[in-house]
């Protein structure tokens, strides 16, 4: 890994392509969840790796390569979202509210079964899409990319405690959105 990195820094195309191959899947998925559009995510992934390619020689070994890749990626994506927000006004309606037609409070049933219901997952995905960018970032880094609070903290340049607080607030917001749906579903279902 280290040798590969050194070779990539010295401009070895083969070593760089190894880096792309081993990271593009994660970067693309992060971009997809952050930007919520497959085409934009694809373009952003390319731009992120071009950025990595051109700044590879500035990479210092104070952080691990994956951490650095994530850092370049999140900075790029948050930047892009900030710029996009300036250009167009944000959607105001929350479409996931309309999709909500779960028959029962899913938590009342066997959780293992419920979690795998595509319907439930879809609603949660759409709710995550509606989170503010900073909250969505930590949620995606933790639940999709499987990173620890400490790793996320290094990527975002904040303390692990701050990451914990953001995840807590993001989840509190998700629950405040999802609870009425799940509760409401129960009443409508009449079970």
């Amino acid at each position: 890994m280290e040798r590969e990195l050194e070779r990539a820094k010295n401009g070895d195309p083969e070593a760089f392509s190894d880096i792309v191959r081993s990271h593009q899947h994660r970067v693309y998925n992060l971009a997809l969840k952050m930007l919520r559009d497959p085409d934009e995510a694809k373009d952003a992934t390319q731009d992120i790796f071009i950025k990595i390619h051109s700044s590879l020689k500035n990479f210092r070994h104070s952080s691990r390569l994956p951490t650095w890749v994530y850092r370049v990626a999140t900075n790029h994506l948050l930047d892009q979202l900030r710029r996009a927000k300036r250009e167009r006004t944000r959607r105001i309606n929350q479409p996931w509210k309309e999709v909500a037609h779960i028959r029962n409070d899913p938590r009342a049933e066997d959780p293992a079964v419920v979690v795998n219901q595509e319907e439930v997952r879809q609603i949660v995905r759409e709710a995550v899409d509606e989170l503010p960018d900073l909250y969505r970032t930590v949620i995606v880094l933790h639940y999709q990319q499987g990173l620890s609070y400490q790793e996320i903290a290094e990527i975002l340049g904040v303390s692990a405690r701050t990451v914990g607080t953001r995840i807590h607030r993001a989840k509190a917001r998700l629950r405040s959105w999802l609870d009425p749906i799940w509760r409401g579903g129960k009443i409508d279902g009449g079970k």
Partner: protein, 199 residues
Amino acid sequence: MEGNKHCDRLRPHLDAFLNDELKAEIREQIAEHLDVCEDCRKQCEEMRFLDNVLFSALSMESSPPGLTEEILRRSDLIRENPPERDMVRRDLLPGMLGSGMVSVLTLLLGVILWSGFLELSGMLDPLEDAIVPWFLQPVAGFWEVSPLVWESMGAKMSLDALGPWIQWVASLTPIGGVGFAIICMLVTVPFWWRTVKAT
């Protein structure tokens, strides 16, 4: 109730608890509290449910075919035709020029003050011929401020009035000026260094 105070304190940590991201001390506190508090236990269950849904809902998709190849094609293009860069990073220029100028000015000020002081105190006179090489003798006077100027500014009078102690301290101030100039230069060097590296 003894529960409420603990509930308020511990609840913000529940999801870190579920993710096993807490220090042992507070983790144990929560575990003990969950044994006795039905409300927090319920909240914990809901959190765990949300956790599981989130993990499962946010699973990764396969990335579009050809993405790697497209990235490598673009990076090859850049390698073959590297973009032209400015010789000097424009965004760093004001900082560099600013601190460079401050360095030069302080250095000048230090030299002028120092030579003026030495001139006034007469310390330089016997040394002048020895310090300044013969080929610089004709211009040696240029960078010195004439003693007359210092005297007209009242410098000698105040120096004499202050006594030898203060004179000695005063002779150190230009050294402080030089030190300040060195600090300014140290500030400038990283700017230049970044520019050199960026180009």
